[in-house]
Structures are given as structure tokens and as C-alpha cells.
């Protein structure tokens, strides 16, 4: 075998050794177990401790879940059915699912409206999340906000139509003018939209009658998990454009613009969301014109949007900073002006890098929407702590309700963060 000692050079191998299987100690379950569970005594101890922890947790939760009662009218009925054995009283979920999902004031015969909106939401958001889908689907995404508004709040259909036509007119003017100058397109678009809305306002006033297709539902009747979802989606989508503007402002060479952006971003990031919600509930109303009534939902949306736009601005700033300087120089050398180079060269790349970060902000924000329960809005947590636990029937059903709320949030947040990781892997392999 060993014919290759130093003195035996030169050496030429005539036959090729075949691949051999590793020795048994290096294969299969045995090797896996040795390396992964029992490599050292300390490691083996850790394995045993882990198994014990898993046993304790499962033996506490499994019987409680499997022995649960799903059909009862109140906690005392549950206890009768359980007759002293351990088990959860999940009947509360069956009894109060409407309240958990939609709040306690949304008309129960209209629940199909928010449900339909949710289904449509998935269609609207799909082309934004998955680049491979045909771009034409984005048209539906553009229409969706107006449709969703009408479905959830109801009232005269002319309102969302006028709003949509205004935006459409603004877009047409913008796309005509933007080739010459971005500023012209931008302000022209806004002016066109404003004109349409102004004229449309008269139209809506003139035709207001009782004959609306869908009954109007006031904002204060929204609640439950739907409220968390609406706040999360609305505020994140509103804060992306504002965040872009703030990020660009922070990079600006104009000191005034730069410092305004910095002060805004650092101020918002320096205070807890709850203080901003206090502003929404007790302070913001003072800044609106006297005698105007801006409902709490809108005020909360304004404050949460400010909150998340500051965080999103920081993510986008990171994306802008990650672009090589050569990109900026190349754009300048082609003779593009600031708006063009941002719009055509810089932002498309920077936003793509930023998407995982923005998604993480969105997850955080969605979790933070539970804070509105502190300013007595009845979101999922507010519903549980308020009307449901306070009712005589279900006073004391903590674990089932809190566990259910935790599960709902976990499913959505875990799903989104898995999407974000998938996207990050995909962007990493994309040739950029």
C-alpha cells in the first residue's frame, strides 16, 4: 500500500481509487446523534435538560388543548362539562368570534364586507410582494384602496369614485409633464387632482341621498383584529412614500431640508409610540380648524404613519448608502437631473435592497397596533380586556383568549418574516 515514501519518487498512480463509504462510526443516525446530541458529557446533559423542558411544556399544554370544551354558553357551563378535569374553555372563541375579529359594533349582517375586503387585499398585495407576477395586476392594486374604503365604511359610492378619478387625473397630468420636468409633473398632477376633488365635492353634495348601496358604518364601530389589520396596512402603505421623501431629504445637500428631516426622524424615533398615540387621542384635535371633527381613527392613522415613516426613512437611507458611489456619478455623467437620477437610477435599486428592512418595520408596526387599546380603542387586545373579559359569561377565561390573540399575531408576523427572509435570499442571488 504505502509505496510512496520520499525516496520512491517519482510516483505515478495507474489506477483510480473508487469512492468508498465512510466507516460506520462516521455515518447515518449514529454519527448524527453523536455529533448533534451527545458530543460531550456537557452536551449530553444539555440534551437531557432540553428533553425535560419539552416534556414539561407539552404535558402542561397538550391535555389542556385536547381536553378543551368548544361548545358552551359561559365559563360556568364549561366548568360543569369539564367536571374538574383540566381543559381549556375554547367555547369563548366560538361564542365571541365576531367580536374578536370585527369588534362589537360592526353590524353583524354586514360582516361579509370586511371579509371580502380581506380576500381582495390578498389579490392587491400579491403583485407588490412577488415580482414574478404580471405587472398589469398592479392596476387592481391601485384601485384597491378606494374599493376597500367603500366596502368597509360604505356610504355614497360617489365619494371613492371622485377620489379615484381625482387621482387618475393627477396621474395623467403627471405622466404628460414628467418628461419635461419632474417638478412640473408633480405639482401639475396635484393641481389636477385638487381640481377634480373640488368639483367632485359639489357633485357628491348635490346627489347625497338615502339611496346608498352600502350602509355607512362610522369609524368608531370598527374593532377587533380587523382594526389591527387596517391600521397596519394603511399606515405602512402611507408611510413608504413619506419615508422615501424623508430619506432623500436627509441626504440632501440643502441644509434646511436636511436638518428638518433629521429633526423629524430623530424626534419620532426618540419617543415611544404610546406618547404619539396620546397626542392622537388628547392633543391633535387642538391643531385642526375649530369645529371640524376628525375622528379618532384618522388621528391615530396620522400619528402611526408619522411614526413608521421615520423608521422606514432610516431603512431606505441604509439602502441609499449601500449603493456604490459610481451609480450616482454615472447618473450625473449621463446628464440626468436630480429627480431623474433618483427616479430612474437610484431609488429603484435602493428600494429593492430596502424591502426586507421595510417588511421588518411592517411586522413591528403591526405588533405595535395593539397599543391602541391603551387609548381605549377596541382592537383585538382591547376587545379581550374590555367587553369580553368584563362580561359575566366569560369573566376569567384568560388563557384561551390571550393564547388565541397570540396565535393570530404569530401566524401573520411569522408568515411575513418568512417572506422577508425568502426575499433576502432571492435578492442576494439576483445579479444586481
Amino acid at each position: 500500500m504505502s509505496d510512496t515514501h520520499a525516496e520512491s519518487i517519482p510516483f505515478v498512480r495507474e489506477t483510480t481509487l473508487p469512492q468508498a463509504a465512510p466507516p460506520t462510526a462516521e455515518r447515518g443516525v449514529y454519527k448524527w446523534g453523536r455529533e448533534n446530541l451527545f458530543a460531550t458529557p456537557a452536551n449530553a446533559l444539555l440534551t437531557l435538560v432540553s428533553i425535560y423542558v419539552i416534556y414539561v411544556v407539552l404535558s402542561a399544554i397538550l391535555p389542556w388543548v385536547l381536553n378543551g370544551v368548544w361548545n358552551a354558553g359561559s365559563l360556568s357551563e364549561c366548568r360543569e362539562i369539564l367536571a374538574g378535569t383540566r381543559g381549556g374553555c375554547f367555547a369563548v372563541l366560538v361564542d365571541r368570534w365576531e367580536q374578536l375579529f370585527f369588534g362589537f359594533k360592526y353590524p353583524s349582517d354586514q360582516l361579509w364586507r370586511p371579509t371580502l375586503t380581506l380576500v381582495l387585499f390578498f389579490f392587491a398585495v400579491a403583485p407588490v410582494l412577488f415580482f414574478d407576477l404580471p405587472r398589469k395586476l398592479l392596476a387592481f392594486t391601485a384601485v384597491f384602496p378606494f374599493l376597500a374604503y367603500w366596502l368597509i365604511w360604505g356610504g355614497p359610492i360617489l365619494v371613492p369614485i371622485v377620489a379615484l378619478v381625482g387621482v387618475g387625473a393627477g396621474y395623467v397630468v403627471y405622466s404628460r409633464l414628467v418628461a419635461q420636468s419632474f417638478a412640473g409633473g408633480f405639482f401639475g398632477g396635484i393641481a389636477a387632482a385638487a381640481v377634480v376633488w373640488f368639483l367632485g365635492g359639489y357633485l357628491v353634495d348635490a346627489t347625497t341621498g338615502p339611496s346608498s348601496l352600502l350602509d355607512a358604518v362610522p369609524s368608531r364601530d370598527l374593532g377587533g383584529y380587523m382594526l389591527n389589520f387596517m391600521l397596519g396596512v394603511t399606515c405602512v402603505s402611507l408611510s413608504v412614500p413619506i419615508g422615501i421623501a424623508l430619506a432623500l431629504g436627509r441626504q440632501s445637500s440643502m441644509p434646511l431640508i436636511k436638518w428638518l428631516s433629521v429633526i423629524f426622524i430623530e424626534f419620532i424615533r426618540g419617543v415611544p409610540l404610546i406618547t404619539l398615540l396620546f397626542v392622537a387621542s388628547v392633543m391633535l384635535a387642538y391643531f385642526f380648524p375649530p369645529n371640524s371633527t376628525v375622528d379618532l381613527f384618522l388621528r391615530v392613522v396620522i400619528m402611526i404613519t408619522m411614526f413608521s415613516s421615520a423608521y422606514i426613512a432610516e431603512v431606505i437611507r441604509g439602502g441609499l448608502a449601500a449603493l456604490p458611489k459610481g451609480q450616482y456619478e454615472a447618473a450625473d455623467s449621463l446628464g440626468l437631473d436630480y429627480a431623474q437620477s433618483m427616479r430612474l437610477i437610484i431609488l429603484p435599486q435602493a428600494l429593492k435592497i430596502s424591502i426586507p428592512g421595510i417588511v421588518n418595520i411592517a411586522v413591528g408596526l403591526f405588533k405595535d397596533t395593539t397599543l391602541v387599546s391603551v387609548i381605549s380603542m377596541f382592537d383585538l387586545v382591547g376587545m379581550i380586556r374590555g367587553p369580553i373579559l368584563a362580561s359575566t359569561d366569560w369573566n376569567g377565561v384568560y388563557w384561551e383568549l390571550l393564547g388565541f390573540a397570540a396565535l393570530l399575531f404569530f401566524v401573520v408576523c411569522y408568515g411575513i418574516s418568512q417572506y422577508s427572509q425568502w426575499l433576502e435570499r432571492r435578492l442576494a442571488t439576483d445579479h444586481r
Partner: protein, 412 residues
């Protein structure tokens, strides 16, 4: 953009304000300043109109008025006759207390979980991944409420400890877990100085001794370093350090006659010892375990950021695994770990404002809650509240900038 010198000097046309690089930026900023001023004036006039209509004014005089409410957990003397300002200070101290406690425990949880996530043990790895995912994906408010519910609904009432054959008993007869909070033994002195107060001077002495021990161990480490530099051999310092830490403090505590006040059932409630209220425990534990999950991810990312080549190069030089960790991997990993760790501390401080959900008297619950509701001074209270958090954030970010600048790797 470079500024080109225009040959036609003096020929100023209005269009140059927009299309000349010398004036463009100034023009745009002037426009922005005017728009901003108009917006602020509009908001201010609305505010003034609304305040006049409601018969209010902006004034901070209410801070000196009597607060008129009680706070169950205070670090300084306070009663319902104290001023609103003092109530706010109590709140600030409570915020700082829970934030500090939560930062310490969150770091411990996070480092443990982060290191264990890289363990060679498959089961431990999976278990830690489960912990991280569960806590990161469920709102912290729900965790606070869940732990608060455990405190109030699951733990027994003090009355359950009564009788000859009570339903509940104290842990080792030292600590009691009740739905009114956890009672643990509290230390007090029988000899020494300042016994009339709460033994303040004695505590200062104890702290002075601990600081002395710290200086002592530093000196031992320094002399070990010097010896290693001179001879190459590093003396063992473990036992000397342990002795320096423990011997003086034990002697001093013995000399001062340290006794433990053990909580005991008196009437309907426990008395003696230290009471840690349920809201504090709930907030503390929930914040630590929730933020711990985020810190675990930072720690893991930090350790993974040190490339395998670094470990290999150190091993190839013959360094033992423990030294590879302490001399090569950790100094590099800490650069990656510390900045996000500090922003997690900032998050803990901000999230401690959720105290209001469980009735812990932090600054948000005192100034932004009860004081605001009783005085109706919404604008003043919210502004002061924001100012407080802003100052804390700015201090922490300033510290972080100093740290980042001092740790920056030098590169070409």
C-alpha cells in the same frame, strides 16, 4: 454639482434663481422655509382658536399643585399630598428602575439564547430558535398582559397562606409569591451609622467597599498583565480575585450586624421584607424575555459575522479555543453586537411606557395618565412626557456614537 463661474457677471435675470446652480439651492430652501412657516402659523392659529374656545391656556403651574393620588410603588418619599412634579419624578425613577432591571436580564437571556442557538446540540438549537420566533412574533403588550395575568390570576392571595394547614406555603419560608406581588427578605443593619434613617450611611459604606474590591481586582489584573509582559507567564488570578471580592464585604456586613427582615403574614397581608409589585414583575419579566429574543438574534449574527478564517488562523497559531474566543472572536463580534444591543436598550426604555397597561406607576402612567386626566393639561403633559423620552434617547444615541467612533476598524 460643481459651481461654474458664469462669464456674464452682473447680468442677473430672475430665471437664474431656479436655473443657476449658484442660486437654485437657496431659492428652493427659501420656498421650503416659507411653506413651513405658513404651515406652522396655520397650526398655531388653530391651536390658539381652539384653546380660546375651550377657555384654556398653556401653563405649567399645575406641576406645583397637589397631586392627590397615591402610588403603590415608589423609590422616594411620596404621598397623595405631594405635588404633581414629585409624582412625575417618582414616575421617572420607576421608569429608570424597570428599564435598568429589564436591560440587565434581557442581556442575560439574549446572550444565553444567542450562544445556545449556535450550540452543536441540535435539540438545544431548535429549542432556542423556537423561543426566539415565539417571542419576536407576538406583540410585547400581549406578553405583558399574559405575565401580569399569571401574577394576578394564578398566584394565590395572601389569605391562602393563613391557617394551620394553608393552601399555599412560602418558598423555603423566605419568599412568598402572592397575587399582590412577590415578597423577599430585605436586609437591614443593627449596628453602624445612621440607623435612625434607613441606614443610608451604612449602605454608602457597603458600596464603598464594593468599589474598593473592584479597584483591587483591577490592580490584580494589571499586575498579572505586567508579569506576563515581563516574563511571559501569566499568574493565576481567579482565587485572589474571588478573595478580594468576598472577604472584605463579608467582614463589613458582619461588623455592621446585617440582619434579614423576612416577610411574614400579618393580618390580611404580608409585612416586612421587600415587596416587588405584580405590575413591576410583569413588566420587567415580559420586557426582558421579549427583548431577549431580539438580543439573541444580534448576538448570533455578531458571532457569525466573524469569519471562519479568523477562528482557523487563530487555531493554526496554536491558540486554545478559550483564548481564540476571548482574544480574536469576541473583540470582533462585540463591534457587531454592541450597537444593536444599545438600540435594544433604547427599545426597552421606550417599551417600558406600556406600564400603563398593567398599572405600574412609571412616567407615562403618572404624568401622562393620572395627572393628565385630573388636571386636563393634555398638551403640557404630553410635551413633558415626550421631552423626557427624547432626552433619554439622545443620551443613549450620543453614547452609541462615541462607542462606534472609538471602535471603528481602520481601513484604507
Amino acid at each position: 454639482m460643481t459651481t461654474l463661474t458664469d462669464p456674464a457677471k452682473g447680468a442677473f435675470r430672475p430665471s437664474m434663481l431656479l436655473y443657476d446652480t449658484r442660486y437654485r439651492s437657496l431659492t428652493l430652501q427659501a420656498i421650503a422655509a416659507i411653506v413651513l412657516a405658513l404651515c406652522l402659523m396655520y397650526l398655531y392659529s388653530n391651536l390658539a382658536d381652539n384653546l380660546r374656545a375651550a377657555g384654556l391656556n398653556i401653563s405649567f403651574g399645575f406641576l406645583a399643585d397637589t397631586a392627590g393620588y397615591d402610588i403603590n410603588q415608589t423609590l422616594i418619599d411620596y404621598n397623595s399630598q405631594s405635588s404633581n412634579l414629585r409624582a412625575a419624578v417618582v414616575g421617572i425613577l420607576n421608569t429608570l428602575l424597570v428599564a435598568f432591571l429589564a436591560c440587565v436580564t434581557a442581556t442575560i437571556f439574549g446572550v444565553l439564547a444567542g450562544v445556545l442557538r449556535l450550540s452543536p446540540n441540535w435539540l438545544v438549537r431548535k429549542l432556542m430558535a423556537f423561543y426566539v420566533e415565539i417571542f419576536r412574533n407576538i406583540p410585547v403588550l400581549i406578553w405583558i398582559i399574559i405575565i401580569f395575568t399569571i401574577m394576578t390570576a394564578v398566584l394565590p392571595a395572601p389569605s391562602a397562606f393563613r391557617g394551620d394547614d394553608p393552601d399555599s406555603s412560602m418558598l423555603f419560608n423566605l419568599a412568598a409569591f402572592t397575587n399582590r406581588g412577590i415578597y423577599i427578605p430585605g436586609p437591614y443593619f443593627t449596628r453602624g451609622f445612621g440607623l435612625e434613617g434607613n441606614g443610608g450611611l451604612n449602605w454608602i459604606l457597603v458600596i464603598a467597599v464594593l468599589i474598593g474590591s473592584l479597584i483591587g481586582t483591577r490592580a490584580v489584573t494589571a499586575s498579572a498583565n505586567a508579569k506576563q509582559e515581563a516574563t511571559g507567564v501569566r499568574p493565576k488570578t481567579l482565587w485572589i480575585n474571588l478573595a478580594i471580592w468576598f472577604v472584605p464585604i463579608i467582614v463589613v456586613l458582619f461588623a455592621l450586624g446585617l440582619q434579614w427582615d423576612i416577610p411574614a403574614l400579618r393580618g390580611f397581608n404580608f409585612g416586612g421584607g421587600i415587596q416587588i409589585g405584580g405590575p413591576l414583575i410583569a413588566l420587567w419579566f415580559a420586557l426582558s424575555i421579549y427583548t431577549g429574543a431580539f438580543i439573541a438574534e444580534n448576538v448570533r449574527a455578531g458571532i457569525l459575522s466573524v469569519s471562519k478564517g479568523q477562528t482557523e488562523a487563530a487555531a493554526a497559531l496554536g491558540l486554545r479555543p478559550r483564548r481564540v474566543m476571548s482574544l480574536v472572536v469576541l473583540p470582533q463580534a462585540l463591534r457587531v453586537i454592541v450597537p444593536p444591543l444599545i438600540s435594544q436598550y433604547l427599545n426597552i426604555t421606550k417599551n417600558s411606557s406600556l406600564a400603563i397597561a398593567v398599572g405600574y406607576a412609571d412616567i407615562t402612567a403618572t404624568l401622562g395618565g393620572i395627572t393628565l386626566n385630573q388636571t386636563g393639561r393634555a398638551i403640557e403633559c404630553v410635551l413633558l412626557l415626550m421631552l423626557f423620552y427624547l432626552i433619554i434617547s439622545l443620551l443613549i444615541s450620543a453614547f452609541m456614537n462615541v462607542y462606534n467612533n472609538s471602535m471603528k476598524l481602520k481601513e484604507r
